[in-house]
Protein backbone atom coordinates (compact mmCIF):
# COMPACT_ATOMS: atom_id res chain seq x y z
CA UNK A 1 0.00 0.00 0.00
CA UNK A 2 1.21 3.49 -0.83
CA UNK A 3 2.11 5.72 2.05
CA UNK A 4 -0.76 7.82 3.43
CA UNK A 5 -0.59 10.26 6.31
CA UNK A 6 -3.34 9.38 8.83
CA UNK A 7 -2.81 11.46 11.99
CA UNK A 8 -3.52 9.59 15.21
CA UNK A 9 -5.43 12.41 16.93
CA UNK A 10 -8.11 12.87 14.24
CA UNK A 11 -11.38 11.03 13.59
CA UNK A 12 -12.48 9.80 10.15
CA UNK A 13 -15.36 8.77 7.90
CA UNK A 14 -15.59 5.97 5.37
CA UNK A 15 -15.99 8.73 2.75
CA UNK A 16 -12.42 9.90 3.44
CA UNK A 17 -13.06 12.96 5.51
CA UNK A 18 -11.21 13.85 8.70
CA UNK A 19 -12.66 15.56 11.75
CA UNK A 20 -10.75 17.39 14.49
CA UNK A 21 -12.62 17.86 17.75
CA UNK A 22 -12.08 21.35 19.23
CA UNK A 23 -14.27 21.67 22.31
CA UNK A 24 -17.91 22.05 21.25
CA UNK A 25 -16.96 22.37 17.60
CA UNK A 26 -15.38 20.20 14.93
CA UNK A 27 -13.13 21.11 12.00
CA UNK A 28 -13.27 18.94 8.88
CA UNK A 29 -11.52 18.34 5.58
CA UNK A 30 -10.54 15.49 3.28
CA UNK A 31 -7.79 12.98 4.05
CA UNK A 32 -4.38 12.53 2.50
CA UNK A 33 -5.66 9.35 0.84
CA UNK A 34 -8.57 11.30 -0.70
CA UNK A 35 -6.40 14.13 -2.02
CA UNK A 36 -3.90 11.67 -3.50
CA UNK A 37 -6.69 9.75 -5.20
CA UNK A 38 -8.15 12.96 -6.64
CA UNK A 39 -4.91 14.45 -7.91
CA UNK A 40 -4.53 18.19 -8.51
CA UNK A 41 -7.50 19.88 -6.84
CA UNK A 42 -8.70 22.82 -8.93
CA UNK A 43 -12.10 23.67 -7.45
CA UNK A 44 -13.80 23.40 -4.06
CA UNK A 45 -17.49 24.17 -3.56
CA UNK A 46 -18.55 24.63 0.07
CA UNK A 47 -21.78 25.69 1.81
CA UNK A 48 -22.12 29.12 3.43
CA UNK A 49 -21.89 29.92 7.13
CA UNK A 50 -25.25 29.11 8.72
CA UNK A 51 -26.01 26.18 6.42
CA UNK A 52 -26.88 22.86 8.01
CA UNK A 53 -25.25 19.52 7.22
CA UNK A 54 -26.89 16.12 7.51
CA UNK A 55 -24.73 13.16 8.38
CA UNK A 56 -24.03 11.09 5.24
CA UNK A 57 -25.61 13.66 2.90
CA UNK A 58 -23.60 15.54 0.23
CA UNK A 59 -22.79 19.12 1.23
CA UNK A 60 -20.13 20.17 -1.26
CA UNK A 61 -17.84 19.15 -4.08
CA UNK A 62 -14.10 18.83 -4.68
CA UNK A 63 -12.95 18.77 -8.29
CA UNK A 64 -9.57 17.80 -9.65
CA UNK A 65 -8.54 18.13 -13.29
CA UNK A 66 -10.24 14.85 -14.16
CA UNK A 67 -12.47 13.94 -11.22
CA UNK A 68 -15.48 15.28 -9.34
CA UNK A 69 -15.99 14.06 -5.76
CA UNK A 70 -18.91 14.79 -3.44
CA UNK A 71 -18.26 15.76 0.16
CA UNK A 72 -20.52 14.03 2.71
CA UNK A 73 -21.48 15.33 6.13
CA UNK A 74 -19.43 13.42 8.70
CA UNK A 75 -21.94 14.47 11.37
CA UNK A 76 -25.09 16.61 11.36
CA UNK A 77 -24.61 20.19 12.42
CA UNK A 78 -24.49 23.88 11.57
CA UNK A 79 -21.67 25.54 9.62
CA UNK A 80 -20.01 28.26 11.70
CA UNK A 81 -16.88 28.86 9.62
CA UNK A 82 -15.82 28.22 6.02
CA UNK A 83 -12.29 28.21 4.63
CA UNK A 84 -12.79 30.96 2.05
CA UNK A 85 -9.13 30.74 0.99
CA UNK A 86 -9.89 27.52 -0.89
CA UNK A 87 -11.88 29.45 -3.49
CA UNK A 88 -8.66 31.04 -4.75
CA UNK A 89 -6.17 28.42 -3.59
CA UNK A 90 -7.81 25.00 -3.98
CA UNK A 91 -4.32 23.49 -4.24
CA UNK A 92 -4.04 23.87 -0.45
CA UNK A 93 -6.13 20.69 -0.27
CA UNK A 94 -3.22 18.85 -1.92
CA UNK A 95 -0.46 20.72 -0.16
CA UNK A 96 -1.76 20.62 3.42
CA UNK A 97 -4.99 18.65 3.68
CA UNK A 98 -4.95 18.49 7.52
CA UNK A 99 -3.84 22.11 7.95
CA UNK A 100 -4.45 25.05 5.58
CA UNK A 101 -6.61 22.78 3.40
CA UNK A 102 -9.34 22.50 6.09
CA UNK A 103 -12.87 23.09 4.80
CA UNK A 104 -15.49 23.79 7.46
CA UNK A 105 -16.02 24.31 11.18
CA UNK A 106 -19.29 22.80 12.44
CA UNK A 107 -21.35 22.87 15.58
CA UNK A 108 -22.52 19.26 15.77
CA UNK A 109 -26.15 18.54 16.69
CA UNK A 110 -25.36 15.33 18.54
CA UNK A 111 -22.06 14.57 20.34
CA UNK A 112 -22.83 10.86 19.97
CA UNK A 113 -22.36 11.17 16.19
CA UNK A 114 -18.89 12.58 16.75
CA UNK A 115 -18.04 9.73 19.11
CA UNK A 116 -19.17 7.22 16.48
CA UNK A 117 -16.58 8.41 13.89
CA UNK A 118 -13.69 6.09 13.01
CA UNK A 119 -10.43 6.23 14.92
CA UNK A 120 -7.15 6.39 12.97
CA UNK A 121 -6.40 2.65 13.11
CA UNK A 122 -9.87 1.76 11.79
CA UNK A 123 -9.60 4.31 9.01
CA UNK A 124 -6.16 2.99 8.07
CA UNK A 125 -7.68 -0.47 7.73
CA UNK A 126 -10.51 0.94 5.61
CA UNK A 127 -7.98 2.54 3.24
CA UNK A 128 -5.98 -0.67 3.08
CA UNK A 129 -9.06 -2.77 2.31
CA UNK A 130 -9.79 -0.71 -0.77
CA UNK A 131 -6.21 -0.62 -1.99
CA UNK A 132 -6.11 -4.40 -2.19
Amino acid sequence: MADYDIPQELRYTREDEWVRIEGERVVLGITDYAQQQLGDVVFVELPAVGATLERGEPFGVVESVKAVADLFGPVSGRVVEVNATLADEPELVNQDCYGDGWMLVLEPDDPAEVEALLVASDYRQHVKDRAE
Binding site: D40, F43, S64, V65
Partner: protein
Protein backbone atom coordinates in the same frame (compact mmCIF):
# COMPACT_ATOMS: atom_id res chain seq x y z
CA UNK B 1 -8.86 -5.00 -13.68
CA UNK B 2 -9.49 -8.27 -15.46
CA UNK B 3 -10.25 -8.42 -19.15
CA UNK B 4 -8.26 -5.28 -19.84
CA UNK B 5 -5.45 -5.29 -22.36
CA UNK B 6 -1.99 -4.01 -21.61
CA UNK B 7 0.48 -2.19 -23.82
CA UNK B 8 4.10 -3.39 -24.09
CA UNK B 9 4.99 -0.62 -21.61
CA UNK B 10 2.64 -1.68 -18.84
CA UNK B 11 5.46 -2.54 -16.46
CA UNK B 12 7.18 0.80 -17.08
CA UNK B 13 3.96 2.58 -16.08
CA UNK B 14 3.81 0.53 -12.89
CA UNK B 15 7.44 1.23 -12.04
CA UNK B 16 6.91 4.95 -12.58
CA UNK B 17 3.98 4.90 -10.16
CA UNK B 18 1.42 5.67 -12.85
CA UNK B 19 -2.21 5.57 -11.76
CA UNK B 20 -3.65 2.90 -14.04
CA UNK B 21 -7.25 3.20 -15.19
CA UNK B 22 -9.39 1.39 -17.76
CA UNK B 23 -9.54 3.28 -21.06
CA UNK B 24 -10.94 1.91 -24.33
CA UNK B 25 -10.39 -1.64 -23.10
CA UNK B 26 -6.79 -0.98 -22.04
CA UNK B 27 -5.20 -0.46 -18.66
CA UNK B 28 -3.38 2.88 -19.06
CA UNK B 29 -1.86 5.58 -16.85
CA UNK B 30 -4.13 8.60 -16.38
CA UNK B 31 -1.23 10.34 -14.63
CA UNK B 32 2.15 9.64 -13.08
CA UNK B 33 2.72 12.45 -10.59
CA UNK B 34 0.39 15.29 -11.51
CA UNK B 35 -1.72 16.11 -14.57
CA UNK B 36 -0.86 19.79 -14.17
CA UNK B 37 2.88 19.11 -14.09
CA UNK B 38 2.69 16.76 -17.06
CA UNK B 39 0.62 19.29 -18.99
CA UNK B 40 3.16 22.04 -18.26
CA UNK B 41 6.04 19.75 -19.26
CA UNK B 42 4.51 19.33 -22.74
CA UNK B 43 3.75 23.03 -23.23
CA UNK B 44 7.14 24.21 -21.94
CA UNK B 45 9.57 21.35 -22.53
CA UNK B 46 8.73 17.82 -23.65
CA UNK B 47 6.46 14.96 -22.55
CA UNK B 48 6.41 11.29 -23.51
CA UNK B 49 3.14 9.37 -23.87
CA UNK B 50 2.47 5.69 -24.44
CA UNK B 51 -0.42 5.63 -26.87
CA UNK B 52 0.05 2.05 -28.01
CA UNK B 53 -3.66 1.47 -27.52
CA UNK B 54 -4.30 3.35 -30.77
CA UNK B 55 -4.95 1.10 -33.78
CA UNK B 56 -3.13 0.75 -37.10
CA UNK B 57 -5.08 -0.59 -40.06
CA UNK B 58 -3.13 -1.23 -43.26
CA UNK B 59 -4.50 -1.29 -46.81
CA UNK B 60 -2.20 -2.70 -49.45
CA UNK B 61 -2.34 -3.91 -53.04
CA UNK B 62 -3.66 -2.72 -56.36
CA UNK B 63 -6.67 -0.50 -55.74
CA UNK B 64 -5.63 0.49 -52.19
CA UNK B 65 -5.26 4.17 -53.08
CA UNK B 66 -8.68 4.33 -54.71
CA UNK B 67 -10.14 2.48 -51.71
CA UNK B 68 -8.67 4.95 -49.22
CA UNK B 69 -9.81 7.88 -51.37
CA UNK B 70 -13.36 6.50 -51.19
CA UNK B 71 -13.17 5.76 -47.46
CA UNK B 72 -11.89 9.03 -46.01
CA UNK B 73 -13.24 12.58 -46.09
CA UNK B 74 -9.91 14.24 -46.93
CA UNK B 75 -8.21 14.11 -50.34
CA UNK B 76 -5.47 11.47 -50.36
CA UNK B 77 -4.63 10.50 -53.96
CA UNK B 78 -2.58 13.72 -54.22
CA UNK B 79 -0.63 12.85 -51.07
CA UNK B 80 3.03 11.92 -51.58
CA UNK B 81 4.57 8.86 -50.01
CA UNK B 82 5.88 9.95 -46.60
CA UNK B 83 2.99 12.31 -45.91
CA UNK B 84 0.09 12.16 -43.46
CA UNK B 85 -3.34 13.70 -43.54
CA UNK B 86 -6.15 13.92 -41.00
CA UNK B 87 -9.71 12.99 -41.97
CA UNK B 88 -12.85 11.07 -41.08
CA UNK B 89 -14.36 7.77 -42.06
CA UNK B 90 -18.01 8.65 -42.67
CA UNK B 91 -21.16 6.56 -42.95
CA UNK B 92 -23.93 6.78 -45.59
CA UNK B 93 -25.89 9.28 -43.51
CA UNK B 94 -22.89 11.57 -43.13
CA UNK B 95 -22.04 10.69 -39.53
CA UNK B 96 -18.50 9.94 -38.40
CA UNK B 97 -17.44 6.30 -38.05
CA UNK B 98 -14.06 7.44 -36.73
CA UNK B 99 -11.52 10.22 -37.11
CA UNK B 100 -8.15 9.02 -38.35
CA UNK B 101 -4.73 10.00 -39.58
CA UNK B 102 -3.92 8.58 -43.01
CA UNK B 103 -0.32 7.63 -43.82
CA UNK B 104 0.92 6.95 -47.34
CA UNK B 105 3.61 4.27 -47.15
CA UNK B 106 3.83 3.66 -50.91
CA UNK B 107 1.94 3.88 -54.21
CA UNK B 108 -0.60 1.32 -53.09
CA UNK B 109 0.20 0.96 -49.40
CA UNK B 110 -1.51 3.01 -46.69
CA UNK B 111 -2.21 2.81 -43.03
CA UNK B 112 -4.80 4.53 -40.90
CA UNK B 113 -4.11 5.33 -37.26
CA UNK B 114 -7.49 4.91 -35.56
CA UNK B 115 -8.99 5.36 -32.10
CA UNK B 116 -8.54 2.40 -29.75
CA UNK B 117 -12.25 2.17 -28.99
CA UNK B 118 -13.03 1.87 -32.71
CA UNK B 119 -10.43 -0.61 -33.98
CA UNK B 120 -12.81 -3.54 -34.58
CA UNK B 121 -15.59 -1.29 -35.85
CA UNK B 122 -13.25 0.47 -38.30
CA UNK B 123 -11.73 -2.80 -39.48
CA UNK B 124 -15.17 -4.24 -40.30
CA UNK B 125 -16.21 -0.96 -41.92
CA UNK B 126 -13.10 -0.80 -44.11
CA UNK B 127 -13.33 -4.46 -45.17
CA UNK B 128 -16.98 -3.97 -46.10
CA UNK B 129 -16.20 -0.98 -48.30
CA UNK B 130 -12.95 -2.11 -49.90
CA UNK B 131 -12.62 -4.25 -53.06
CA UNK B 132 -11.52 -7.85 -52.48
CA UNK B 133 -8.15 -7.32 -54.17
CA UNK B 134 -6.94 -4.96 -51.46
CA UNK B 135 -5.43 -6.58 -48.39
CA UNK B 136 -6.80 -5.01 -45.20
CA UNK B 137 -4.83 -5.86 -42.10
CA UNK B 138 -5.14 -4.89 -38.46
CA UNK B 139 -1.59 -4.46 -37.16
CA UNK B 140 -2.59 -2.82 -33.88
CA UNK B 141 -1.48 -5.73 -31.73
CA UNK B 142 2.05 -5.85 -33.08
CA UNK B 143 2.54 -2.06 -33.19
CA UNK B 144 3.47 0.27 -30.34
CA UNK B 145 3.06 4.04 -30.53
CA UNK B 146 4.89 6.63 -28.46
CA UNK B 147 4.11 10.34 -28.66
CA UNK B 148 6.95 12.74 -27.93
CA UNK B 149 5.36 16.16 -27.63
CA UNK B 150 6.54 19.64 -26.74
CA UNK B 151 8.86 22.38 -27.98
CA UNK B 152 11.99 20.40 -27.03
CA UNK B 153 10.91 17.19 -28.79
CA UNK B 154 13.05 17.84 -31.89
CA UNK B 155 16.09 18.41 -29.68
CA UNK B 156 15.46 15.10 -27.90
CA UNK B 157 15.33 13.24 -31.21
CA UNK B 158 18.45 15.03 -32.45
CA UNK B 159 20.30 13.51 -29.50
CA UNK B 160 19.37 9.91 -30.30
CA UNK B 161 18.48 9.61 -33.99
CA UNK B 162 20.51 8.77 -37.08
CA UNK B 163 18.36 11.10 -39.22
CA UNK B 164 17.82 14.88 -38.97
CA UNK B 165 14.23 14.67 -37.75
CA UNK B 166 14.15 18.37 -36.88
CA UNK B 167 13.97 19.03 -40.64
CA UNK B 168 10.90 16.83 -41.02
CA UNK B 169 7.93 19.01 -42.04
CA UNK B 170 4.72 18.85 -40.08
CA UNK B 171 2.47 16.00 -41.30
CA UNK B 172 5.42 14.16 -42.84
CA UNK B 173 7.05 10.95 -41.68
CA UNK B 174 10.19 8.91 -42.24
CA UNK B 175 11.91 5.82 -40.95
CA UNK B 176 14.68 6.33 -38.44
CA UNK B 177 16.92 4.47 -36.07
CA UNK B 178 16.80 5.70 -32.49
CA UNK B 179 19.36 4.01 -30.32
CA UNK B 180 18.91 0.33 -31.18
CA UNK B 181 15.24 0.69 -32.21
CA UNK B 182 13.76 1.16 -35.66
CA UNK B 183 10.74 3.44 -35.83
CA UNK B 184 8.47 5.25 -38.22
CA UNK B 185 8.66 8.84 -37.01
CA UNK B 186 5.84 11.20 -37.87
CA UNK B 187 5.69 14.92 -37.12
CA UNK B 188 2.16 14.81 -35.79
CA UNK B 189 0.45 14.81 -32.44
CA UNK B 190 -2.64 15.44 -30.38
CA UNK B 191 -1.50 18.19 -28.04
CA UNK B 192 -1.35 21.45 -30.00
CA UNK B 193 2.40 21.64 -29.39
CA UNK B 194 5.17 20.64 -31.78
CA UNK B 195 5.94 16.96 -31.56
CA UNK B 196 6.40 13.55 -33.05
CA UNK B 197 4.62 10.21 -33.00
CA UNK B 198 6.86 7.15 -33.18
CA UNK B 199 5.53 3.81 -34.39
CA UNK B 200 7.61 0.72 -33.69
CA UNK B 201 7.15 -3.00 -33.24
CA UNK B 202 5.81 -4.00 -29.83
CA UNK B 203 9.06 -5.84 -29.18
CA UNK B 204 11.02 -2.57 -29.59
CA UNK B 205 8.73 -0.41 -27.46
CA UNK B 206 10.62 -0.70 -24.19
CA UNK B 207 14.01 0.04 -25.78
CA UNK B 208 12.57 3.03 -27.64
CA UNK B 209 10.94 4.39 -24.47
CA UNK B 210 14.26 4.10 -22.63
CA UNK B 211 16.23 5.69 -25.47
CA UNK B 212 13.86 8.67 -25.50
CA UNK B 213 13.91 9.04 -21.71
CA UNK B 214 17.69 8.98 -21.68
CA UNK B 215 17.99 11.53 -24.50
CA UNK B 216 15.22 13.61 -22.93
CA UNK B 217 16.70 13.84 -19.45
CA UNK B 218 18.75 16.90 -20.39
CA UNK B 219 15.59 18.58 -21.71
CA UNK B 220 13.38 17.96 -18.69
CA UNK B 221 11.36 15.20 -20.34
CA UNK B 222 8.44 13.95 -18.24
CA UNK B 223 6.34 10.84 -18.84
CA UNK B 224 2.76 12.02 -19.34
CA UNK B 225 -0.56 10.22 -19.01
CA UNK B 226 -4.04 10.30 -20.50
CA UNK B 227 -5.14 13.10 -18.20
CA UNK B 228 -2.64 15.56 -19.62
CA UNK B 229 -3.29 14.25 -23.13
CA UNK B 230 -6.93 15.21 -22.68
CA UNK B 231 -6.33 18.71 -21.26
CA UNK B 232 -3.73 19.38 -23.97
CA UNK B 233 -5.98 18.32 -26.84
CA UNK B 234 -8.87 20.28 -25.36
CA UNK B 235 -6.79 23.49 -25.22
CA UNK B 236 -5.99 22.87 -28.89
CA UNK B 237 -9.73 22.20 -29.55
CA UNK B 238 -8.94 18.85 -31.18
CA UNK B 239 -12.00 16.59 -31.22
CA UNK B 240 -12.19 13.32 -29.31
CA UNK B 241 -14.26 10.53 -30.80
CA UNK B 242 -17.23 9.67 -28.59
CA UNK B 243 -17.30 13.26 -27.32
CA UNK B 244 -17.27 15.73 -30.22
CA UNK B 245 -17.69 13.08 -32.91
CA UNK B 246 -20.01 10.10 -33.29
CA UNK B 247 -21.98 8.09 -35.86
CA UNK B 248 -24.71 10.74 -36.05
CA UNK B 249 -22.64 13.93 -36.17
CA UNK B 250 -21.50 15.36 -39.51
CA UNK B 251 -17.85 16.40 -39.63
CA UNK B 252 -19.08 19.82 -40.75
CA UNK B 253 -21.12 20.20 -37.56
CA UNK B 254 -17.84 19.48 -35.75
CA UNK B 255 -16.19 22.28 -37.80
CA UNK B 256 -13.88 19.91 -39.65
CA UNK B 257 -14.61 21.59 -43.02
CA UNK B 258 -10.90 21.73 -43.86
CA UNK B 259 -10.76 17.95 -43.84
CA UNK B 260 -13.82 17.31 -45.98
CA UNK B 261 -13.37 17.28 -49.78
CA UNK B 262 -16.83 18.50 -50.76
CA UNK B 263 -16.59 19.27 -54.47
CA UNK B 264 -13.53 17.02 -54.77
CA UNK B 265 -13.29 13.28 -55.31
CA UNK B 266 -16.45 11.41 -54.30
CA UNK B 267 -16.25 9.64 -50.94
CA UNK B 268 -18.40 7.49 -48.73
CA UNK B 269 -20.86 9.72 -46.88
CA UNK B 270 -19.98 12.76 -48.98
CA UNK B 271 -23.41 13.09 -50.58
CA UNK B 272 -25.17 12.97 -47.23
CA UNK B 273 -22.72 15.50 -45.76
CA UNK B 274 -23.38 17.87 -48.68
CA UNK B 275 -27.16 17.36 -48.38
CA UNK B 276 -27.09 18.04 -44.65
CA UNK B 277 -25.07 21.19 -45.25
CA UNK B 278 -27.60 22.41 -47.80
CA UNK B 279 -30.56 21.68 -45.53
CA UNK B 280 -28.82 23.59 -42.75
CA UNK B 281 -27.14 22.08 -39.72
CA UNK B 282 -29.15 21.82 -36.53
CA UNK B 283 -26.08 22.23 -34.36
CA UNK B 284 -22.51 23.45 -34.48
CA UNK B 285 -19.51 22.75 -32.27
CA UNK B 286 -18.28 25.77 -30.32
CA UNK B 287 -15.56 26.47 -27.82
CA UNK B 288 -16.57 28.34 -24.69
CA UNK B 289 -14.97 29.61 -21.53
CA UNK B 290 -16.61 30.07 -18.15
CA UNK B 291 -16.77 33.63 -16.93
CA UNK B 292 -17.69 32.55 -13.39
CA UNK B 293 -16.09 30.01 -11.06
CA UNK B 294 -16.77 26.37 -11.81
CA UNK B 295 -15.87 23.57 -14.20
CA UNK B 296 -17.92 22.40 -17.16
CA UNK B 297 -17.85 18.64 -17.77
CA UNK B 298 -19.03 16.44 -20.61
CA UNK B 299 -22.78 15.90 -20.33
CA UNK B 300 -23.62 19.20 -18.64
CA UNK B 301 -26.44 21.09 -20.35
CA UNK B 302 -25.81 24.41 -22.09
CA UNK B 303 -28.50 27.06 -21.92
CA UNK B 304 -29.10 30.51 -23.35
CA UNK B 305 -31.59 32.99 -21.90
CA UNK B 306 -32.66 30.21 -19.52
CA UNK B 307 -33.65 27.81 -22.29
CA UNK B 308 -31.68 24.62 -22.68
CA UNK B 309 -29.96 24.77 -26.08
CA UNK B 310 -27.18 22.18 -26.14
CA UNK B 311 -24.72 20.00 -24.33
CA UNK B 312 -21.09 20.09 -23.25
CA UNK B 313 -19.04 17.42 -25.04
CA UNK B 314 -15.72 18.07 -23.26
CA UNK B 315 -14.78 20.38 -20.43
CA UNK B 316 -11.88 20.91 -18.06
CA UNK B 317 -9.85 23.55 -16.33
CA UNK B 318 -7.23 24.83 -18.79
CA UNK B 319 -3.86 24.65 -17.04
CA UNK B 320 -2.32 27.07 -19.54
CA UNK B 321 -5.07 29.70 -19.40
CA UNK B 322 -5.99 29.19 -15.75
CA UNK B 323 -9.67 29.22 -16.60
CA UNK B 324 -12.39 26.71 -17.35
CA UNK B 325 -12.92 25.83 -21.00
CA UNK B 326 -15.10 23.45 -22.93
CA UNK B 327 -16.50 22.31 -26.25
CA UNK B 328 -20.18 21.74 -26.92
CA UNK B 329 -22.94 21.77 -29.49
CA UNK B 330 -25.34 24.69 -29.82
CA UNK B 331 -27.78 25.92 -32.51
CA UNK B 332 -26.17 27.91 -35.35
CA UNK B 333 -27.64 31.18 -34.13
CA UNK B 334 -25.65 30.86 -30.89
CA UNK B 335 -22.31 29.84 -32.38
CA UNK B 336 -20.67 33.25 -32.79
CA UNK B 337 -17.82 34.23 -30.47
CA UNK B 338 -19.06 36.51 -27.73
CA UNK B 339 -22.44 34.77 -27.45
CA UNK B 340 -23.47 34.37 -23.82
CA UNK B 341 -24.27 30.85 -22.63
CA UNK B 342 -24.80 29.20 -19.27
CA UNK B 343 -23.52 25.81 -18.20
CA UNK B 344 -25.81 23.92 -15.83
CA UNK B 345 -23.60 22.43 -13.15
CA UNK B 346 -25.34 20.52 -10.35
CA UNK B 347 -28.50 22.57 -10.67
CA UNK B 348 -26.67 25.90 -10.80
CA UNK B 349 -26.21 28.02 -13.87
CA UNK B 350 -22.67 29.27 -14.50
CA UNK B 351 -22.00 32.05 -17.01
CA UNK B 352 -19.98 31.22 -20.11
CA UNK B 353 -19.28 32.73 -23.50
CA UNK B 354 -18.43 31.39 -26.91
CA UNK B 355 -14.79 32.01 -27.84
CA UNK B 356 -12.53 31.40 -30.83
CA UNK B 357 -10.71 28.08 -30.95
CA UNK B 358 -8.10 26.81 -30.47
CA UNK B 359 -8.12 28.11 -26.91
CA UNK B 360 -4.32 27.91 -26.82
CA UNK B 361 -2.07 28.42 -29.78
CA UNK B 362 0.77 26.11 -28.98
CA UNK B 363 4.25 26.01 -30.30
CA UNK B 364 3.31 24.12 -33.45
CA UNK B 365 5.74 25.00 -36.18
CA UNK B 366 3.67 25.14 -39.32
CA UNK B 367 5.88 24.03 -42.17
CA UNK B 368 3.05 23.18 -44.51
CA UNK B 369 -0.55 24.16 -44.00
CA UNK B 370 -1.91 20.69 -43.78
CA UNK B 371 -4.02 18.86 -41.25
CA UNK B 372 -4.94 19.95 -37.75
CA UNK B 373 -4.13 17.02 -35.58
CA UNK B 374 -1.28 19.00 -34.24
Amino acid sequence: MSGLRRTPLFEVHQQLGGRLVPFAGFELPVQYRSILEEHAAVRERVGLFDVSHMGQLHLQGRGATAAVEWLVSCPVASLQTGRVRYGCLCNESGGVVDDVTVYRLGDEHWFLCVNASNIEKDYRWIVRHTPAGVDVRDRSGETALLALQGPASAAVLAACSDVDLGALPRFAFTRAKLGASEALVSRTGYTGSDGFELYCSSADALALWETLCLAGAAHGLAPAGLGARDTLRLEAALPLYGHELDDETSPLEARLDRFVKLGGAPFLGGEAIARRKQTGHAKLLVGFELTERGIARAGHALSHARAEVGVVTSGAPSPTLQKSIGLGYVPLALADPGTRLEVLVRGRSIAAQVVQTPFVRGSVRVVRKEGSRG
